[in-house]
């Protein structure tokens, strides 16, 4: 990918290669994360440059606001609209009893779980997730992370400013003021990650070297140096 995109006074620039594995794109609100997700999904066209896909036959973008995905009057219909067997999607989303409910009667957390389960079951070669954790409670965030970590093939790109519950990732990228910067692969990328969550920063300051970015990784690294 190598592209430039601008709208009004905002310009986004980025280049890099997203290989197989889980990538985290972090950065402040308004830095261009969602715009980059739309560009990578092919829903926006760059002004100059291109997004080239190799070996990517299918791609899905999970939108930040799950209600924007809804096209059917029932939860089961919504799962079917993704081309899935509704029972499978509802079981994964832990919503089996809600098949006939109106999707708008689900809570935000439940709706987010449903759309996440649908995208994961579709198992696209390229999976783009825009703020998959916002407004979820920590229990649901953890489940979502577990579901992402179980995906064993393809390219997964998570765009998020989450600072407490994160999945195990392979590479870190940062957006700031519309510019995408590659921090590299984990764990070597961790010390140069400017938007690292406070617990990770604390572990680094203590001299610990976490192997990944989760809270459990920070605690294990601290245990190793504290004995």
């Amino acid at each position: 990918m190598d592209l430039v995109f601008s709208r009004d006074s905002f310009t986004l620039r980025g280049s890099g290669i997203f290989g197989e594995g889980v990538h985290l794109v972090s950065g402040p609100v308004g830095s261009g994360k969602s715009t980059l997700a739309l560009l990578l999904a092919g829903l926006l066209r760059p002004e100059s440059g291109t997004v080239r896909r190799h070996g990517v036959l299918s791609a899905d973008l999970l939108l930040q606001f799950p209600e924007h995905h809804i096209t059917c009057p029932t939860v089961a219909g919504e799962a079917a609209s993704w081309g899935l067997v509704p029972e499978d999607a509802l079981a994964l989303a832990e919503l089996s009893g809600r098949a006939d409910d109106d999707p708008f009667h689900l809570s935000r957390g439940e709706l987010k779980r449903l759309t996440l389960a649908c995208t994961l079951l579709k198992n696209p070669d390229l999976l783009l997730l825009d703020e998959p954790f916002s407004s979820l409670d920590c229990t649901t965030k953890r489940k979502a992370c577990g579901m992402l970590e179980e995906r064993d093939a393809g390219i997964t790109i998570v765009f998020s400013h989450e600072r407490a519950v994160l999945p195990r990732v392979d590479a870190i990228w940062e957006m700031e003021g519309g510019v995408l910067a590659a921090r590299g692969s984990v764990p070597d990328a961790i010390p140069s990650w400017r938007h690292a969550p406070p617990y990770l920063r604390y572990a680094l300051e203590q001299g610990a070297r976490p192997v990944n970015i989760r809270l459990s990784d920070a605690r294990e690294a601290l245990c190793r140096i504290r004995g």
């Binding site: 609100v29 407004s135 920590c138 229990t139 400013h161 406070p198 617990y199 604390y202």
Partner: protein, 223 residues
């Protein structure tokens, strides 16, 4: 003082609660009744049964400032100035006072440069700050924030925290999914299935939650 007695409303079931702290964090899983509790406490909804008293008055007789989770859905006016000025205007304050109040609120939140802008041109974080300025205009006695930090980055969230700390409100009811933010409150209510499952100082409440993911991440690594 916030007093709740025999409250039953939708899924809420709170037999009795009296809190005499300024900054009160309301935490708990999605769907546990946090937003419903905030609505009842700010007078947006009348409870089916029971009473809520803020400062020994019913919520409708108290000046309450409200910041919702999605500022996009609560902004009413197309200009930032009109949005912030709507608070004194709805209270029928005279024009010179309205102008002074709106400008002071924008100054307090650090968004004076946005006053002439259209609300639709703002970023999500800026919209949250405008909603906060509108809530703070005219010095509310009670400030209520419903997961206002869910869609904010660390820098903007810190700015919101500062404004809330410095506001003259006697009580701040702040619902959040950031346990590290809740750990800085004076008092914490942990809600589950419509009930207040734990309440007390952050140390008291989080010691009961140590086995769960609701324990603050910084406490987890520092202790």
């Amino acid at each position: 003082m916030i007093r709740i007695a025999d409250l039953r409303h939708r899924l809420l079931d709170i037999p009795g609660l009296a809190v005499d702290a300024r900054h009160i964090a309301v935490i708990g899983p999605n769907g546990s009744g946090k937003t419903t509790l905030l609505s009842v406490c700010s007078g947006i909804e009348e409870p089916d049964a029971g009473t809520v008293r803020l400062l020994d008055r019913p919520p409708s007789a108290v000046k309450v400032g409200w910041v919702g989770e999605f500022p996009d859905r609560t902004l009413l006016f197309s200009l930032v100035y009109d949005e912030i000025a709507s608070t004194p205007r709805f209270r029928h304050r005279p024009c010179p006072e309205t102008d002074a109040t709106a400008r002071a609120a924008a100054e307090e939140v650090g968004i004076r440069h946005l006053l002439g802008k259209e609300t639709s041109s703002l970023s999500g974080g800026e919209k949250a700050l405008v909603a906060l300025a509108a809530a703070c205009a005219g010095d509310p006695e009670v400030l209520v924030l419903d997961e206002a930090d869910s869609h904010l980055d660390a820098v903007t969230a810190e700015r919101v925290s500062r404004v809330v700390r410095e506001s003259t409100a006697a009580h701040v009811l702040w619902c959040t999914q950031s346990m590290d933010a809740a750990a800085a409150a004076d008092y914490v209510l942990f809600m589950e299935k419509g009930r207040v499952r734990h309440h007390g100082t952050p140390a008291e409440v989080f010691s009961a939650l140590e086995e769960t993911c609701f324990y603050p991440t910084m406490w987890r690594v520092c202790r």
